[in-house]
């Protein structure tokens, strides 16, 4: 188990390294001088020269990469050209809001999804099962940001049940603020997980070892909760791990629609002001978050399913 | 005349060596059966001969040409003369092709599609006793028996000299087994075909093969004519195999050799005679590696062969 964890984290580090380097080179490969683009109208030659030196853009590419990585190791993601504040500080300030939004949406949607899925699997081909199947398919079809806009329009603007803007102070106020965006992002996830749990549960319940368990008179509850769920849950964990990427993307829209601070809003604002270091920092952190979550879900999977320990 | 001669063939995957020096030959028009249990390496051997699995050492001579290590391109002309039949009757048929398409696949591959493939398909279906309208069907619409016959038709499409058959009767009920073996026997006589059959089922070997070899852990331990091996088996493992298939007769006498323990894993092979750990007659001498000792055509690899 330990060797698997180490090797999986090493792979994650490798993927992150390749992704960051690709990102770094992509920015450098763009035609035109990023400094001139960043400064825009205020581009005086001296300002340009000092900024180029500050960003080390005059160095050869691989040297810049070395500097970037050495600084990154100490957690320094460069400096925000305009405000002079360290990018790491800016990004870390916004990160908690995005995490709060993502976990809120995962918790309610995964919970409801598993309950719907398990119920549908427990009594297949009943009216309930077909209804859940229909609802799941329609939920999956609804893109997060359209649901966000519509729910903003109906629940916040028209009915005023929920606040339309901001994050709120204090626990209950924050929950009240995060409810609507979390609902919007999580909705398609309920359908996705419900269908997955139903399909994988039905498949496992059909396997021979379940018949053996029944032949030994184990109670149906124990068979479902231990013998079947232990295997049926595996694909769900993988999907949740991968899903972090989708949630990050959806979070960008939810933060804009509900005017919440967070990584998404930060990236949008720094793009409109052409603030490359901040864009780079935010994208890098979200990629890191995604690579880490896929690694964690693989590790949890390996812990639950000994067979997959040899797969690396 | 010797059609196929395999000498000292060795294959290994990473650190596990599967075949540790196998040598035998198949004469023209002869049917040779290789008998071995799971893990004996018989499938690896037949796939190495067909050029599907790499063999690190030794030689595979087919009509004097060395096949081991040939690239796919150089091997292609020989594929006309050697054809391989697979264990899973339905699984070895490409699911998206019709039976007609499957049977005439060899012609297309060898670039011989200047002839009327439809009539070839009918001829081949006829040969294996299937109705002509079977050509329009897809593999998943066939029963095990029918799929098995389509496999035979495809294997014999280009009238090969050597047919390699991997467990031809696997998955068939006893009553249907006979049908297929009779078909193979008829075709062998009609086309003067040589056959190399591998199986774990000793009973069918007695009715089909002229000569046979017993394989254990990637090695041949006994070889000879089928009658010789069945009536005067010499190697303890062969004797155990022969006694292991219970006769459908409640009063059959039970002088059976029961092997205790499981076959050792390919990763940690025992030293000396590899059957030593399970052999009821093992002695100290068995710690050495036994060589072939042959008495007029009947070879055995054992220091104290049974009388």
């Amino acid at each position: 188990m330990i060797t698997y964890t180490i090797r999986r984290l090493a792979l994650a580090a490798l993927i992150l390294f390749v992704a960051v380097t690709a990102m770094f080179l992509m920015i450098r490969a763009v035609p035109g001088d990023p400094v001139k683009i960043m400064l825009g109208p205020r581009a005086t030659p001296e300002l340009q020269a000092s900024l180029t030196a500050a960003l080390g853009l005059d160095q050869p590419i691989w040297k810049q990469l070395m500097i970037f990585y050495s600084k990154m190791m100490q957690g320094d993601l460069g400096v925000d050209v305009f405000s002079g504040r360290s990018v790491t500080h800016i990004v870390m300030q916004q990160l908690p809001y995005t995490l709060e939004l993502i976990f809120a949406s995962i918790i309610w949607s995964a919970l409801l999804g598993v309950i719907f899925g398990a119920y549908a699997a427990a009594n297949p081909n009943t009216l309930w099962d077909r209804m859940i199947a229909f609802i799941s398919v329609s939920f999956i079809a609804a893109p997060a940001f359209v649901i966000a806009l519509l729910s903003l329009l109906v629940f916040a603007v028209q009915l005023r049940w929920f606040p339309a803007i901001g994050v709120g102070e204090g626990f209950w106020s924050r929950v009240h603020h995060v409810a609507l965006p979390a609902f919007a992002i999580g909705l398609s996830w309920v359908g996705y997980i419900a269908r997955l749990v139903r399909a994988s549960m039905l498949e496992v319940l059909g396997e021979h070892h379940i018949r053996t368990a029944r032949a030994f008179g184990l109670s149906e509850r124990r068979i479902i909760m231990v013998y079947a769920l232990r295997i049926a849950i595996l694909p769900v964990i993988t999907v949740i791990g991968v899903g972090m990427g989708f949630l990050l993307s959806a979070a960008v829209f939810a933060e804009i629609v509900f005017a919440r601070p967070g990584l998404g809003k930060l990236v949008i604002d720094s793009i409109t002001t052409r603030n490359y270091p901040v864009v780079m920092g935010a994208v890098l952190v979200s990629t890191g978050l995604f690579v880490l979550s896929t690694a964690i879900s693989d590790i949890v999977n390996a812990w639950l399913d000994p067979r997959s320990r040899q797969s690396l | 005349m010797t059609l196929l001669s395999v000498s000292n063939l060795k294959t290994s995957y990473g650190k596990t060596n599967v075949l540790t020096g196998v040598s035998f030959h198949v004469d023209e028009g002869e049917t040779y059966a290789l008998v071995g249990e799971s893990g004996s390496g018989k499938t690896t051997l037949i796939r190495a001969i067909a050029g599907l699995a790499p063999a690190q050492e030794g030689s595979i001579l087919f009509q004097g040409h060395e096949l081991r290590g040939l690239s796919d391109r150089k091997m292609r002309p020989f594929r006309k003369d050697i054809s391989l039949m697979f264990q899973d009757p339905v699984g070895s048929l490409s699911p998206r092709l019709t039976v007609g398409g499957l049977i005439t696949e060899p012609y297309r591959i060898q670039g011989m599609n200047n002839r009327d493939l439809n009539s070839e398909a009918i001829r081949l279906l006829e040969m294996v006793g299937l109705p002509a309208d079977m050509a329009g069907r897809y593999p998943f619409q066939l029963s095990g028996g029918q799929a098995r016959r389509v496999g035979v038709a495809r294997a014999l499409a280009l009238e090969p000299k050597l047919l390699l058959a991997d467990e031809p009767t696997a998955g068939l009920d006893v009553s249907v087994q006979g049908e297929l073996l009779n078909l193979l026997n008829d075709l062998r006589d009609q086309l003067g075909l040589s056959m190399l059959i591998i199986t774990h089922n000793l009973n069918i070997v007695r009715h089909v093969s002229d000569r046979m070899g017993i394989m254990y852990l990637g090695q041949l331990v006994e070889e000879g004519t089928t009658e010789d091996v069945f009536h005067h088996s010499k190697h303890p493992y062969t004797r155990a195999l022969l006694s292991a298939s219970p006769k459908p007769d409640p009063h059959a006498k039970m002088d059976r050799i029961i092997l205790h323990g499981d076959p050792p894993s390919l990763l940690k092979r025992p030293s000396g005679c590899e059957f030593r750990s399970r052999c009821p007659f093992a002695k100290d001498i068995c710690k050495e590696t036994p060589e072939w000792n042959e008495t007029h055509g009947h070879k055995v690899r054992c220091f104290i062969p049974l009388s």
Binding site: A215, G217, R230 | D173, L202, A244, P246, L259
Partner: protein
């Protein structure tokens, strides 16, 4: 003669499928006495697994009981409640399945599964663990202590089947059902498992219902034999009667076709031409008549009943009727 342990009387089961009602079992009747080994011989599609599921009352949803009863220790299993059945499964009746690689949970250790099936006994965990070790050594598995902590995929087929036997016999059941336990194994392993089953049977005295399509194994192990074909019993009798004095054409052909039976090298092997009839269509007359070389006119119209021909031997074939013993 004490009452048989298990008595199956006229059991008829249909499956309703898209193509209509599949008559999987038709009028199955035979019995198993206490401490006896009864063999069921049948090729693929003869209804063996449906019969086992019916005894255990673990039939799929689309199965429909038509008629018949199964008396086990004086209780009709067909009318028993799910609760009563669950009490018996794994205590009075236990099962060994065909494919050892598939019949154990892949992600749970062997030890945990062996303890779980002792869910009825209230003894502490350590005691159950000890019983598991005992059973494993009884079926010849070395260093059981470490083996219990391993998962099924770390064992060979032969080992897994021995574990399955250990699990089945752990609760000293009255009836052990073995559904083709050795079909997936090599010959040398098969005989070893058969020998072990014989010794355990002598030691424990439980009755065994042994299912196989391998005549040799049945001949060696069983005292009485049921021959099944396409969902019905064609012959039932002592092993000597069945093998030396078969009274049904299918049994005769089956014995002839077994390659082990043919002493000398045969140029042409005997076969049974044709295939199993489609059980969804209306069936009249004898089920085997299409493939039977000795069929007479009556076979096409009336279904032959299972009739006793004396000396504990029954067969369902019109040919026996004109020489019925007085």
């Amino acid at each position: 003669m004490t009452a048989p342990l298990l008595q199956i009387d006229g059991v008829t089961i249909d499956y309703n499928t898209k193509k209509g009602n599949l008559h999987a079992l038709r009028d199955i009747s035979f019995d198993v006495n206490k401490g006896e080994i009864v063999g069921i011989v049948g090729e693929s599609g003869c209804g063996k697994s449906t019969l086992i599921s019916t005894i255990l009352q673990l039939l799929p949803q689309n199965a429909e009981w038509k008629k018949g009863a199964i008396n086990f220790k004086g209780k009709n299993l067909i009318t028993s409640s799910e609760k009563e059945m669950r009490d018996m499964r794994g205590k009075d009746i236990s099962v060994i399945f065909q494919d050892p690689m598939q019949s154990l949970n892949p992600v749970i250790t062997i030890g945990r599964q062996m303890v779980d099936i002792q869910h009825r006994s209230t003894s502490p965990y350590a005691e159950k663990w000890q019983k598991a070790i005992e059973m494993l050594s009884m079926v010849g598995i070395a260093d059981a202590e470490t083996r219990l902590k391993q998962h099924p995929f770390e064992f060979s087929g032969g080992m897994l089947q021995r574990i399955a036997i250990a699990m089945a016999l752990m609760s000293m059941p009255d009836l052990l059902i073995a559904d083709e336990p050795t079909t997936a194994l090599d010959a040398t392993l098969e005989v070893e498992i058969i020998k072990r089953l014989k010794d355990l049977h002598k030691e424990m005295g439980c009755s065994i219902l042994f299912i196989s399509h391998h005549l040799g194994v049945i001949a060696e192990l069983c005292q009485r034999v049921v021959v099944m074909y396409a969902g019905s019993v064609v012959e039932f009798g002592t092993v000597d009667e069945i093998f030396f004095n078969p009274k049904h054409p299918y049994t005769r052909r089956l014995i002839e076709c077994d390659p082990g039976h043919i002493k000398e090298r045969a140029k042409r092997l005997p076969t049974i031409p044709g295939e199993i009839p489609d059980l969804t269509e209306a069936l009249e007359g004898c089920i085997f008549q299409e493939r039977c070389s000795e069929s007479i006119a009556k076979c096409k119209t009336a279904t032959p009943p299972l009739v006793s021909l004396g000396q504990n031997h029954q067969a369902a074939c019109w040919l026996n009727h004109n020489q019925e013993p007085e």
